[in-house]
């Protein structure tokens, strides 16, 4: 077969010593970049982009610079799980779902198993996705084109539906958290109207304040609120605030300075046992690999909804959903398999359509352009000498990444052995340095710490905050897509749910948006109905007893 021989050639180039060495270096760099909260794969790839010139001069292999960048990308995806599990801070939005069960596992003393599960699940997810990529890349690229604005919005609804159940038992507090997160996502410039929204302490409010307190109104504006709020609330500002500051303050208070971290042992046999234990996580891994890839290839969706939906689906279909959130390895395997699978999937629209599905692929795209490649529908035909080694390197990078990751596990576990009175300030420092590194802005650092204090108080009062963190990621895209769709439909909401709605234009797959919307609506309504039924029964039972 044509593809097989092309792939073999590509693999052969990818395992040439210089490319293999680049893959190893890239993966190691990526692992650390991904493991430090805040830096993340976007920055890692962007910062090391000029370095590829050095590589090009040294190797004179056209594929070598991209292999290096792809290896960093992969390494960072593996590394994201490490800070989620060991520090409890998700370094990127894709790793939020990993904290749900990864952190409890670490606290139970199973950090090694969580890390091994994450590494192996990532490997399986990445490899499955690369197989799909190899076999069906040109075919699947048209799927991405069929997803217009209403379809993406419907998909976002579906992602929301899967995390309704994540909040815990207190329904109004979960609702508050979701609404609050969605609202935070609206702060800043509105794409559709081009105007700033919810800019607190703007000139008008500052003048009013000064007048109230009899200040000198000529001094307005004394506070540069436009620059602060018009950039919006960045995801990491809330995530690091909640997990790095709020959760840490809570832990310090709960542990009362006494507890050092739980015992963590590490040995070769424990790692092997962890790998063998993966057979218990086959379901989460499978769901993650497939769902992650599918969501990943849709531009604008990205790996975050992929990992989230995989977690949700894995929990829903589990025979023991209560164990999720308490340290179920399946709850680590599903999102990790999904985010790696989705990251590979996101390369597909980037290479075949020239459309980046995430900020990192956008920077990779910039890298390809600098290297004189024109990603687009013709890339596979025009530049096979570049495409196939790159695809080959996906397989190689995955293999290298899982080996390197397993080798580094003892080092990452050493973090957990530090006395808590050293670990705590280190986490605070990393939170602050990481937030600054991510956004180059002290405003965001202050805001992050303020969110952290707020999160501490809400945590004490049992408010679940993970829904708010995730809502910030999904909220902006969801609203933008909803309003773009409504511009298309003259403000008619039927565009989302009515399969017979007449949309402008010709080529859409008419059924995607309505079917997805209805599934989402049912998923959202189901727990509420069940809850109502339970209450009514419970009420009746209570009355009968009374």
């Amino acid at each position: 077969m044509d593809i097989v021989s092309a792939l073999m050639d590509g693999l052969w180039i990818a395992v040439q010593p210089h490319n293999l060495a680049l893959a190893v270096i890239g993966v190691i760099v990526g692992l650390f970049v991904g493991a430090l909260p805040g830096l993340g794969s976007v920055n890692g790839v962007a910062i090391l982009l000029p370095f590829t010139f050095v590589i090009n001069e040294a190797t004179s292999d056209p594929a070598a610079p991209m292999i290096f960048l792809a290896a960093i990308y992969y390494g960072a995806m593996y590394g994201g799980a490490i800070s989620s599990i060991t520090l409890g801070i998700p370094g990127a939005s894709t790793a939020v779902a990993t904290t749900f069960d990864g952190r409890p596992m670490a606290l139970k003393g199973e950090a090694d198993r969580a890390l091994v599960t994450a590494a192996v699940a990532s490997f399986i997810g990445g490899t499955v996705a690369t197989l799909f990529f190899t076999g069906f890349a040109p075919m699947l690229s048209s799927v991405a084109l069929d997803f217009g604005n209403p379809e993406i919005f419907a998909l976002m609804l579906l992602a929301f539906a899967t995390f309704i159940g994540l909040g815990g038992d207190d329904i109004p507090k979960t609702m508050f958290s979701i609404f609050f997160g969605l609202l935070l996502a609206t702060i800043g410039f509105d794409t559709i109207s081009g105007e700033p929204r919810l800019v607190f302490m703007n000139e008008r409010e500052q003048t009013a304040l000064l007048e109230t307190f009899g200040g000198n109104t000529d001094a307005v504006p004394f506070f540069d609120s436009v620059s602060w709020f018009s950039r919006g609330i960045q995801f990491l500002v809330l995530a690091i605030g909640v997990y790095g500051i709020g959760e840490m303050l809570w832990t310090i208070n709960a542990s009362r300075y006494k507890v050092t971290m739980t015992e963590t042992k590490i040995s070769f046999s424990r790692i092997m046992r962890g790998i063998v234990g993966m057979k218990d996580c086959w379901k989460g891994t499978t769901i993650g690999s497939l769902l992650g890839f599918f969501v990943g290839i849709l531009p604008a969706a990205g790996a975050t909804p992929g990992s989230l939906m995989s977690y949700g689906v894995s929990k829903m279909t589990s025979r023991n959903p209560r164990s999720y959130g308490e340290g179920n390895p399946d709850g680590v395997a599903a999102p990790e398999a999904a985010n790696n699978s989705a990251s590979t999937g996101a390369m597909l629209p980037m290479m075949t359509l020239g459309i980046p599905g995430s900020p990192t692929t956008a920077v990779l795209l910039a890298g390809m352009v600098i290297w004189g490649l024109e990603p687009g529908p013709r890339l596979f035909e025009d530049r096979p000498e570049f495409v196939w080694p790159l695809i080959g390197s996906f397989y190689v990078s995955n293999l290298v990444a899982v080996i390197v990751n397993l080798a580094f596990i003892p080092l990452f576990l050493a973090v957990l052995r530090m006395p808590f009175t050293i670990l705590a300030p280190v986490i605070f420092v990393l939170s602050i340095v990481g937030t600054y590194a991510a956004y180059d802005n002290m405003y965001d650092v202050w805001l992050m710490v303020l969110f952290g204090f707020g999160a501490y108080f809400l945590r004490v009062l049992d408010y679940p905050l993970a829904p708010a963190v995730l809502a910030v990621v999904l909220g902006a895209t969801a609203e933008e897509k909803m309003r773009q769709s409504l511009l298309l439909s003259d403000g008619n909401f039927a565009i989302f749910w009515n399969p017979f709605f007449d949309r402008d234009g010709k080529g859409q797959e008419w059924w995607i948006a309505p079917v997805t919307t209805w599934i989402a609506v049912i998923l959202i309504a189901l727990p509420i109905i069940l809850w109502g039924v339970r209450r009514m029964r419970g009420g009746a039972a209570a009355e009968a007893r009374g």
Partner: protein
């Protein structure tokens, strides 16, 4: 990247710096803050990283350029940051047309464009009208006829509200009595993809954004909003040839922070002149259908003055400002 530089190279750079100071010219004494007025992965970002790569590769500057993206509020964040730069001699920015439109639309920012140091205009990006091939439209007249027939069922996608794309759409609506519906997107790539997927009917993407789908034959160029035909699309007429009186470009410039010394500005102008002359930049320019020559210093300031007036008129006409 300085990863592989040996101590000797560092010493050599130090020696160079010393000789340069002896000639009393400006030489950066620390890493240069290289602000990008757009988000990661956008057109401006790609270009900025290419410039950085060229500088690094040819070792044009004694100190590294450190890129930071400040995209908040259509560039408001970047402009405010530049205004308050603590060390203007080491702060430069890659900018585009929001350099004028954002201060015009938000007088509250109190940004004066002319206070910035005019370092270099590296290129002007061009705009082309695209439709999907299945519409069966090949000429501008056919386009006008079809769009008139469909009324407000004809949808144009573009990057942002009151942006370059919106300005061009408004012009088409006004000059030809059309009622095209404009839908703002976050980035040009998403627009190009939705056009190829027939989610929208037309776009005014930069050639660089639509190139992939043009080569695969999914989208067709109708007119170019330039003064002369683009070398890459020799069969596509300009709007001026079709009887219109309108052309529109997007600057791709480098500016220095307000308060930058004349010596420093001269240094950066020479630096970016070298970048402009490099083979990589010239290749990129021709590949992406970029136009415009190298313009710097006083000429660039004159160019800005003309552009600011131009945009004031356009934005007033569309009702975006009063």
């Amino acid at each position: 990247m300085k990863l592989l530089k040996t101590l000797t190279l560092g010493a050599a750079a130090l020696g160079m710096a010393v000789t340069a100071t002896a000639a009393s010219a400006f030489e950066p004494s620390k890493p240069i803050d290289f602000v990008i007025m757009a988000g990661k992965g956008g057109g401006a970002d790609k270009m900025a990283r290419l410039m950085q790569a060229i500088v690094e590769k040819n070792e044009l500057a004694g100190k590294p350029l450190v890129p930071t993206n400040k995209s908040g509020g259509s560039g408001a964040e970047a402009l405010q940051y530049m205004k308050g730069a603590t060390d203007p001699d080491h702060t430069i920015m890659v900018t585009l047309n929001s350099f004028y439109t954002t201060p015009l639309r938000q007088p509250g920012l109190k940004v004066d464009n002319m206070a910035f140091a005019p370092v270099a205009r590296m290129a002007e990006d061009t705009f082309v009208l695209w439709v999907h091939k299945d519409e069966g439209i090949n000429t501008f007249d056919e386009f006008l006829a079809e769009v008139k027939k469909r009324g407000d069922k004809w949808v144009m996608g573009g990057t942002g509200k009151n942006s370059e794309d919106n300005i061009i759409t408004d012009h088409l609506n006004e000059a030809y009595g059309l009622s095209i519906k404009y839908i703002p997107y976050k980035g040009g790539g998403a627009v190009a993809k939705d056009l190829a997927g027939k989610q929208i009917q037309s776009s005014v993407n930069n050639p660089s954004e639509a190139l992939g789908f043009y080569e695969s034959g999914d989208v067709v160029p109708i007119v170019a909003f330039t003064n002369d035909r683009l070398p890459m699309f020799p069969d596509t007429p300009t709007l001026k040839e079709e009887g219109g009186d309108f052309s529109y470009f997007m600057q791709r410039s480098v500016v220095g922070a307000p308060g930058m010394s004349a010596e420093a500005a001269a240094y950066y102008t020479e630096l970016f002149r070298e970048v402009y002359k490099s083979d990589e930049w010239q290749e990129y320019k021709s590949k992406k259908s970029l136009m415009g020559d190298f313009v710097s210093q006083l000429d660039l300031a004159d160019y800005w003055e003309g552009q600011i007036e131009n945009h004031r008129t356009i934005l007033k006409a569309s009702g975006a400002i009063k």
